[in-house]
Symmetry: C2
Subunit: 79 residues, 2 copies
């Protein structure tokens, strides 16, 4: 079973990487870019076959390793 996790900085947390991308896009002539946020996407291939159990496991992975929940939020897609 596949799972995909998105980890983004929480709203309100400064995102210097996204800001650098926005600036670089402006320099390249892309003037219609108002804001950029950059995050991580993690694709997992799991041996679990039960969707609900997989989501519980992936949530535990996020809390323990994949996201820094002080400053980051995450979303999980299963399947």
């Amino acid at each position: 079973m596949k799972a995909r996790v998105h980890v983004m900085l929480k709203d309100g947390v400064l995102d210097p990487q996204g800001e650098a991308v926005r600036h670089a896009l402006g320099s390249l002539g892309f003037l219609g870019v108002e804001a950029v946020r950059q995050g991580k996407v993690i694709e997992l291939e799991l041996s679990a076959t039960d969707e609900a159990a997989a989501e519980v496991e992936v949530r535990a992975m996020c809390e323990k390793l994949l996201a820094n929940t002080v400053i980051e939020k995450y979303t999980i897609e299963i399947g």
Copy 2:
């Protein structure tokens, strides 16, 4: 208008970051993880209002800056 870009290493390109995550998850007791690929997600807030034009612009951003198309693939979601 919002756009979301996923940038992942192409299949077959070694992903040491994903491999490190897989290893770390195993060390934490998550034994059902068979493979991990890690990539970037970039969320853009665009001033464009036309969906087709926005996609063309974001595709140009990917080719010029956001992805290294030699080793990375990207997908674009608009709206």
